[in-house]
Symmetry: none
Subunit: 200 residues, 4 copies
Amino acid sequence: MTVAEDWRTYHEQGLPRILNAALEAFAEHGYHGTTTRELAERSGLSVPGIYHHYRSKQDILVDLMMVVIDELIERSRLATSSAASDPRAQFDALVESLLRFHMSRQRGAMVSTSELRSLEPGNRERYVARRDEQQRMLDKIILAGVAAGEFDTPYPADASRAVASLCVGVASWYRPDGRLSVDVLLQRYLTIAEAIVGIR
Amino acid sequence: MTVAEDWRTYHEQGLPRILNAALEAFAEHGYHGTTTRELAERSGLSVPGIYHHYRSKQDILVDLMMVVIDELIERSRLATSSAASDPRAQFDALVESLLRFHMSRQRGAMVSTSELRSLEPGNRERYVARRDEQQRMLDKIILAGVAAGEFDTPYPADASRAVASLCVGVASWYRPDGRLSVDVLLQRYLTIAEAIVGIR
Amino acid sequence: MTVAEDWRTYHEQGLPRILNAALEAFAEHGYHGTTTRELAERSGLSVPGIYHHYRSKQDILVDLMMVVIDELIERSRLATSSAASDPRAQFDALVESLLRFHMSRQRGAMVSTSELRSLEPGNRERYVARRDEQQRMLDKIILAGVAAGEFDTPYPADASRAVASLCVGVASWYRPDGRLSVDVLLQRYLTIAEAIVGIR
Amino acid sequence: MTVAEDWRTYHEQGLPRILNAALEAFAEHGYHGTTTRELAERSGLSVPGIYHHYRSKQDILVDLMMVVIDELIERSRLATSSAASDPRAQFDALVESLLRFHMSRQRGAMVSTSELRSLEPGNRERYVARRDEQQRMLDKIILAGVAAGEFDTPYPADASRAVASLCVGVASWYRPDGRLSVDVLLQRYLTIAEAIVGIR
DNA sequence: CATGAATGAGCTTTCATTCAT
DNA sequence: CATGAATGAAAGCTCATTCAT
């Protein structure tokens, strides 16, 4: 899942039809509430057609969640590596990227969050490892900011998790057709996030 | 589900065993991922025993979600009616109540959020009406604060939804055994919430 | 599966309906050629009705084969314990019992023989242990006869397996409505069996 | 499938790879327990490759069983036509041939026996006709022996079937690496067969 | 012949639910 | 309320088979 140069730009995701069907269906009624027959219908295939590409329904969920988080990580890397190297610039870039992602890939993000429990043990471990990788990017930036005396929080780890939760939560209520423009929202949430890590 | 006088105090929920079983099971693998047999086992009843109390699995979910939101509304009312009448006091009391609820009734809150989609149409409407009732309490306070010139936000409705989302999101990551004490967390999130509605 | 006092007498087997359905169906088209739907229809139950009594199709096969071999072993014990103790009387009784069993319980015997390969590893081991138990009864008698100088064969183990095979093979061609009476057949095969172990 | 001059000599069967795959697979888990994918893998072909040679899985079974019984009949003819013409010599030659065949072509013989039920009606008739042809060779020799006063059995037809069954049964237990040499086994079973038809 | 994609029909199994006792 | 037996509907998945390339 390579991503366009500009980590700020989002196009239609262009997912393979089975993953797209899974994204829609899992978002609507969840993994356990979705039947393979529905995935077949939504993807324009027959049921065995699904099984030609995936060995099980579980594998489809795994693939979907991995595609989602891989894009998130990729964009996070692009955002931070194209920003200035001081902690605040790094922090702003990463948070902006997180927010944009959860506004643009809402369903993928929500499915990944809510269906973590539906992953079988081995798959869950692999996914959580990827998610932790993403979380550690934020952790490091905050620690660097604290070390540099630019951020001021007594609990950097908790602050990091709170900022992440804030961004993830956006996916659950943001509506692209709402009154708040993307830029205003970004500005507002960025301010909140900066407050959490003690940027004055 | 009447609640102790003090809306700040939470005891074990003392749910009837079937609802308690449903709370645990739905939180672990979701409504569709839970079988009636599991509900029977977890509640120490037989399967027909379950159906002696409820007409369907759906009815159990409805009852559970209603019990949860009724407690939330009850506590919200107690919080606001025991606070001073100025907008900021009202706002602080309601947000504190929301936060405490989502820290103490995590699983119930998460199940209610994630299984809204599993409610059948009629039930969904009834539940959403209750939830909107809760949301309107916050809306009104914010509008009053803006009218009184004490809050400063150009989009009170969006701010209200953002504050609510912030509080709801707490349920998904707060751990009672974490390092941040409840009071510190409350203080921190209250500050964020006040920032969102433009309390300087 | 206890058996009437007289090990020579066979009545209708009186199997539970599911096992009876399995006996008929497996004999006709084999384990893999039989569907659970067919078992349901033959037993007058619905498909889930089958699964109320058995956890899987495999479990039905296991139960059936165990019922069959347990009756064989039970009858073998009755036959030998009610015969005189000299090797020839023991041998004649056991062979007669084997022959009668394979004439009266043809389908059960054939299914057990041909579907051994359809048992999953653990089940196969358990079944083979029972079958070996039966084979050892014959082995011991032949070894005793040889030791007593009453039987004359240089390869008692092979002779034992040949006798057993002879008896088992009867199930695959004997027809109760054939012209040869049971007694004549018994007499003839007993003579052959005695020849194999070197009873002059 | 023409056979070497000497009907006593058996080499590796040299079956086409699909038939060889079918022989192995059907012997291991039966016709219904074998998938076309397994046949493809075992034969080193692709699945469509299989269908390039055969119109259906059923056709593979038919071909295999026909190849097996054709070799049996061919060898039976060679055996009898190269033996002396008196009934006993004819009988001995045919029985020896039957025994050798079931010792050397065990899996083919067992598959043919156990999968007769898996043949579709038309194919079953064709196969049974071939098998009856083989059985009639034995019937005729026994009748001739009785007519000539050299054999002594009141039920030549039953005796014939019993002899055939005896030989067929060998395939289900004979192991080439056993202690009994082929010649000893032949001698022993020939004696039994002669006893069945009343050769003193 | 291989590869890859595809499918109608059907498989084993499970589900929520019910009823008699 | 429990036990035990039962079921219509549907679940996830597999089968033999086909077609385009």
